[in-house]
Amino acid sequence: MNIGQFLSIFISAVFIYNVILSRFLGLCSFIAISKETKPALAMSLAVMFVTTMSSVITWFIYRFLLVPFNLTYLRTISFILVIAAFVQFVEMVIRKISPPMYRFFGIYLPLITVNCAVLGVAVLNVDMFFVNGKAVAGSFWYSAFQGICVGLGYTLAMLLMSGIRERLELCEVPEAVKDFPWALLSRQ
């Protein structure tokens, strides 16, 4: 475990291989919610929380369940189930303990379950920090950190995009490219 590795994870996850702008993960929610800055920020925070937590949870599952029992081919199926269950659980907890926060985040949480960024970061962690089925030294911290950085990258892209789109609302756009295609085009 060293600082340089953390720095390189940070730079690559936030800037070089940004989840949205370069890896194209989590586009549906990105396009749907980036019309205004405030909901965009709320969604980004929710995504950051879920990517971090799912990195941690899937690391434990992979390291202590799938690798020892030689079940690594069940990676996809177990990760998606755990992530779906986790998001559902978070939704229930938030609804119980803080209704205002539920109103703020709640509608975005179901969207996150099928957000490919979340499953993407879990699969990516396994690809990067497990060599031949063995965990690299410090891989737990790398995985968790990569989860945070992917969330940060999502936030960055979301803020940029919602800022641009708020301004573009006032522009004249040809009828045919309105809304969705325009959202794609304006991301250059």
Partner: protein, 197 residues
């Protein structure tokens, strides 16, 4: 039989998953760098779609309403795992090129969308033709996008040089090229739809 054909053809043009329903954009944007990748992704997703649609249409009466989505996800994930292992065994080069986008077929909205919107309500026969149509539509869309990107971005098609001395615009091989091509194509198809009305 007539309806069988109808369910098949609607996925190709009238309800094309990429250009009309605008589903499953993530893999479309990410893997459309070359035509080979596009075809590989299209076939992989079509296989998953076909398998999951058939199984879900078969077991739809046994799935309790409230937990149907997790049930669908398990079925889909099973087929994705089969695809992953087959691809690793028979074409490792394609597997490396597609990378994490193969396991991510699980969260491809086309597959879950068809399970929820179609296979859970219709018979096995029509679900099968629906899946085939959607799969072909998705593959054709991928081929169209990746052909444009590969040609403009590297001057090649399927790895063959088409024109000698063609200066490729490498932006089309980059992520921003994907957005540009898909945005313009979507606008183009919207325009056609509006003209028809």
């Amino acid at each position: 039989m007539k309806r069988f054909v109808q369910e098949f053809t609607k996925g190709i043009i009238k309800e094309n998953p990429t250009f009309v329903l605008v589903l499953g954009l993530c893999p479309t944007l990410a893997v459309s760098v070359s035509v080979i990748n596009g075809i590989g992704m299209g076939i992989a997703a079509s296989f998953v779609l076909l398998g999951s649609n058939i199984i879900i249409a078969l077991i739809k009466n046994f799935i309790p309403e409230r937990i149907r989505i997790p049930c669908y996800i398990v079925v889909i994930a099973t087929f994705v795992t089969i695809t992953e292992l087959m691809m690793k065994a028979y074409s490792p080069a394609l597997d490396r090129a597609l990378g994490i986008y193969v396991p991510l077929i699980v969260v491809n909205c086309i597959v879950l969308g068809r399970a929820e919107a179609y296979a859970s309500k219709h018979s096995v026969r029509y679900s099968l033709s629906d899946a085939l149509g959607m799969g072909v539509g998705f593959t054709l869309a991928l081929i169209l996008i990746s052909a444009i990107r590969e040609f403009l971005g590297s001057g090649k098609l399927l790895g063959q040089v088409i024109f000698k001395g063609f200066e490729p615009a490498s932006v089309f091989a980059m992520p921003s090229g994907a957005l540009l091509v898909i945005g313009l194509l979507l606008g183009f198809f919207n325009l056609i739809k509006m003209r028809k009305k």
